[in-house]
Symmetry: C5
Subunit: 330 residues, 5 copies
């Protein structure tokens, strides 16, 4: 089963310690010792690969099914002999300005933790490394692992939300630029942004209830004194969620403002165009008049007639130009 099990270790008193290779033996030993637990980390296992693990740890059939398929909702399930938590870590792609969600399942039971990761964005290795450097935290067993993992996931939400905030500011600059670079795509960009936000929300919003439950301290397999820690995570999650909802609302407002902006610009362009057209229409009309073939048009016979008319035309154009300028049409 190499490649799928990313890491598997026994922790005794907060420190990595040698353990029998067989899960069953290791689990028995951990349970015998009391202050020890087993942490198995897996990456996109297939049904067969996961079968062994789930049987050894006695994981519930439905949770196992969920763990094998990606695209789960964040949730917390309490079974008779284990706890199942689904988290959706979020990754921000700097180049495409998009948000991708992965999946992170955590099984917690008596003396064991199994973590299963789908897709990118799960900061499991970093979390394990950090925890191994803090034996006084890791000593609290599976609860500490669950806390550390959810804390890392939720903290990352806030970072990604901040990146989206920066993106929004770019977008705002584009929408309200005095000379818009190319407005053809603004609506598409706002819309695309809204989709990102919706995707993000699907990760954060359903997690609120499970986190509240963990923070209430009434979940089995979770230490009671971890309450304030989960409350802290829950609080950060609420903050991330409010942030995202704010983004969503601002995007709607930005779209409406873009619409209004387009209307203003359209009117400005139309008036400018019309002003120029009016300035061309006047000489054309005057020229038409002196192009008439009446026998008796004294001006036509006058030596200064032609230059005078040219001057009149130019003066009319200039006058209109000034008038339009003063009215702000040009």
């Amino acid at each position: 089963m190499p490649g799928v099990i990313v890491d598997c270790a026994m922790y005794r008193d907060g420190r990595r310690s040698p353990a029998p290779e067989d899960f069953s033996d290791a689990l028995d030993e951990a349970r015998a010792v009391g202050d020890a637990f087993l942490w198995v980390g897996m990456h996109e296992p297939t049904e067969e690969e996961f079968e062994h693990v789930s049987r050894e740890f006695g994981l519930h059939k439905l949770a196992v099914e969920d763990a094998l398929t990606a695209h789960q909702r964040p949730k917390l399930e309490v079974y008779d002999d284990s706890l199942f938590v689904v988290l959706k870590p979020v990754v921000y792609d700097d180049d495409a300005d998009t948000v991708a969600t992965g999946e992170l399942m955590v099984f917690i039971g008596d003396s064991f933790v199994v973590t299963v990761r789908h897709g990118e964005g799960a900061p499991l290795a970093a979390v394990r490394t950090r925890l191994e450097q803090e034996p006084e935290v890791l000593r609290h067993g599976p609860t500490a692992v669950l806390y550390a993992v959810s804390d890392a996931v939720v903290d990352h939400y806030i970072e990604v939300a901040a990146e989206l905030q920066a993106d929004l500011e770019e977008l705002e600059a584009e929408v309200f630029a005095p000379v818009p670079p190319d407005t053809r795509n603004t609506a598409a960009r706002i819309y695309g942004f809204k989709r990102q936000v919706l995707e993000f929300r699907r990760a954060t919003s359903p997690l609120l209830a499970p986190m509240d439950r963990l923070a209430s301290g009434t979940v089995p397999f979770v230490h009671d004194h971890a309450k304030p820690f989960f409350r802290d995570v829950s609080d950060h999650l609420t903050k991330a969620n409010e942030y995202i909802e704010g983004l969503d609302r601002l995007l709607s407002d930005a779209l409406a403002a873009h619409l209004a902006q387009m209307g203003v610009r359209q009117n400005d362009d139309m008036r400018k165009i019309s002003a120029w057209a009016a300035m061309a229409a006047v000489p054309t009309m005057v020229a038409g008049i002196y192009g008439m073939n009446f026998d008796h048009m004294p001006e036509l016979r006058h030596a200064w007639g032609y230059p005078a008319v040219l001057v009149v035309m130019a003066a009319a154009c200039l006058g209109l130009h000034r008038l339009f300028k003063s009215r702000g049409w040009l």
Copy 2:
């Protein structure tokens, strides 16, 4: 009563077993055996056809009325001696890109299940076949049937939602295409899509409360240990519902973006048209001037006057063309 009763069988210990043809006798036998139950499947029965069944199984008058008329809301009714559940399976029509809802009523009582199907989209035959291949599930009796049916219906919701998601992506491509194929129908398509989503929601959203109740394990005639299974269905249902609500919101946004897009395009077209009009107005004006009948217009007498004016006209047009190009108007 042929044609209406699609299938009727007695299950003993999870396996189809012979039973008396008469409902009453069969039911008595099933009750006597203990670990057995009767499953009657019907398709759009008339009042007379259903009367016999409802009398034999002691179904409640109001539930029977509901079972005979289609267009019910999804619901869960607990009567003294039976449980009545209405589900609304959804079918996606690939050609028309539309969603059709059927009805699926399930009566559950002591040692019997009656399923009544209206319209298309009820995966009952497939569910029965699958259950008959899993005797260890079917052994749990009517509860297992209810679980299998609702699981199948809800899983199909998610599939249909995914199809709608694909449709949405097509629509988005249409809305934000640089050269729109034919925008005359985009608003109509978005609106039609919204209607589909509303129809879909009418099937999924009222089912949330009944599913939660089944997942809470407090419903009579439903085995307590089926709780996690119904919780799983409830969870999938919530996911389908969130999905659909997301679709709905995105469609609203798409409509708003389409409106903004139309504004941008309108402005672009208007400026393009005006630019060409301006380019035609200049030579017309110049020609007007030299069409005047003044006696003293020296240019007219000049041998090179005509070609020079033609060159001026062409140069003016070219100059304007370049100016407009550089400003992005053409």
Copy 3:
């Protein structure tokens, strides 16, 4: 008091039976018999007309005030010795496509029912006739009357909602017609429709809580075993309500789509107009050129000059026509 009291009868064991003319005597008799009750039906009584009735039956002062004035909200009031229910029946006027709401007050007490009707749309006579044909229902006394009345009112909601749905479909056809008949009124029609829906909602939405209370079986003067019946009414009411909310949302979407549609059409019209204008501008410009009075314009002297220019003009127009056609502008 003739004309106001529409009908007044004593029911014994589910059947109309002779009773003393005086309310007081009749009520005493009904109470003495036990299985009997008095049903008084009134139509828009004045204060004086109602005074006698309310005193005899000991109706609460506040309920009496409500019963005398129309424009009440649907509600359920429990007083010490009577129950007061306000329903708002809805009538659909086929010609005007409008919805009108009436009022229907029901007082229920120990052995009596008083129904007061304001405006049109109260199906009381029909309900009484139907109930008198079902003695086994009417035997349940005032509770049966309340159920029958509310069932009739709520069922009518669903019918009216279906009529509005049909109206919506007409409206949709108008909004999305390829050649709109006369769009000047579409927005007004959608708005007017929204008002109808709001009016309708004022009748259905406040009734939800009272119906839930009746369905919970905790209301005095209402038989406990009527619970599933009121639950059924409550369920239909919820359905009607969801229907109407769906209508409301669709109307908002239709208005937005209409706006988008208008934008598309405006752009289409503008481009078409501009295309024709461009086609007229070209010959005008060419004619202007050959109308210039230069001495040396060789084309003017040529015998084929004129027909050649005409051909050029026609060719330019035709060319533009084709170009515009191919771009979908014409």
Copy 4:
């Protein structure tokens, strides 16, 4: 302290009765008598003016602060020895079509009522006069005063809402008029109306919870048997609130419809203008052609050439006119 205390009287058994001038003595007497209470009515007292009263009646410091400053939210505060209720009466200014809110604070304690009025719109004098004519109501003491005051305030809400409804109908007539009188201000009027509605809502919506509490009969200093009366007020308040919310929604819809209407009108105007422009362009083009200076233009030499061309021009204009008429463009 003249001018601030509008009225101050002792009521014994529902009737105004003589009382010592000093509050303290009067209060002692009222408490001694048992069935008596003191009602002090004040109008915009200053801090000093109110100090005496608040000390005598032992009013809570915070409530006193609130009573001195206007712009409070409607609320109900229960203190150890008094009850403090803030109501916001609403006045409709017929000329300006605006809504103004005042403030009305009621302190209720053992054997006393203090009412403080800020701004216009508090119907206190009328309420007192009416109550003094109904000793059987006033006999219930402070509770009766609180009921009468809140009933008067809430009933006035419904009247004002009806006036706003009438205003809305005027506005609708303006929005959907076939020939709009002057649409320049329609958006401003709708917006101004929305502000009125928001102002109104600030008065009614926060009062819902306090009224529900009074209707639940669990508030100290309020007689238990006044429950149905406060329930009635609460019910009317809910109705007023629903009314206002309906207005708000309709105004949003009216604004959207106005937008759509503007679009339709804009398109109509544009097509009309363009049609007339097209009708002028055709003779201009024809005239241009016959203004060309070709030597060989046989039509020019023809005696009927000129009238024939005039006829052609007129015919073209007429033909276009008919075409446009038939297409509904003119």
Copy 5:
């Protein structure tokens, strides 16, 4: 640790009194005395600077982490031996018309208060000064400090909301001005305003639940008799919140009205432009006709032909001008 600790004092019986310089000693003394407490005020401490304080007072690790980083949500955390409250004071920048939020953390425990301020806008110094002048309030210890601080913060919310209201009125004047000064930025201004309001809401809205909890009197370390005071703060907070929500809604409406307004103005401008174009088109057409080169055009030979045509042109222009004026197009 100078510069970070803004002020540190022992209060005995509501009055500043000398205390040992060392926290630990001071705290011991305060606890020994009973009616005394220590108040330490800090400004943006670093981790090291805060470490000493947090260790001495036994502050919870998570609260300490929060106190060190700005950008927290308003909240109330109850730990075993202390209470942690985060407030977000809001400052209005008059020049930029923007809203800035700071942070204010309050730790309350047995006989001590620690306040930590981040950013501007925390009125701590003023609160301390005012409290020191009211020994009868300060006597209530840490609870009084928490009340005074939250009261000051919330009262400032209402002031800032009033300033925003004034800004809104300016904006409204701009949106609905008959001659708009420069509409190019109106949408941007409304949008920017909405952002301010969102920022503001992030400060006020999450504080509602903590304030309600404080007002319920069930929070440890907070005196029970402070209930009405916190209820008062809670009430003001609710008012501020409703105010802000009202602003937000009005801004959405203003944006929609601006859009409608733009449409009206666009139409007005377009008609005006077209009217002038039409007035120029008529003389051009007439001149074109008399510029035709027909041999037989009797008018051309007439001595009064030219002036007559000029008069006709002028008359046509004047007539059109009047017509357009009367129709409100000019």
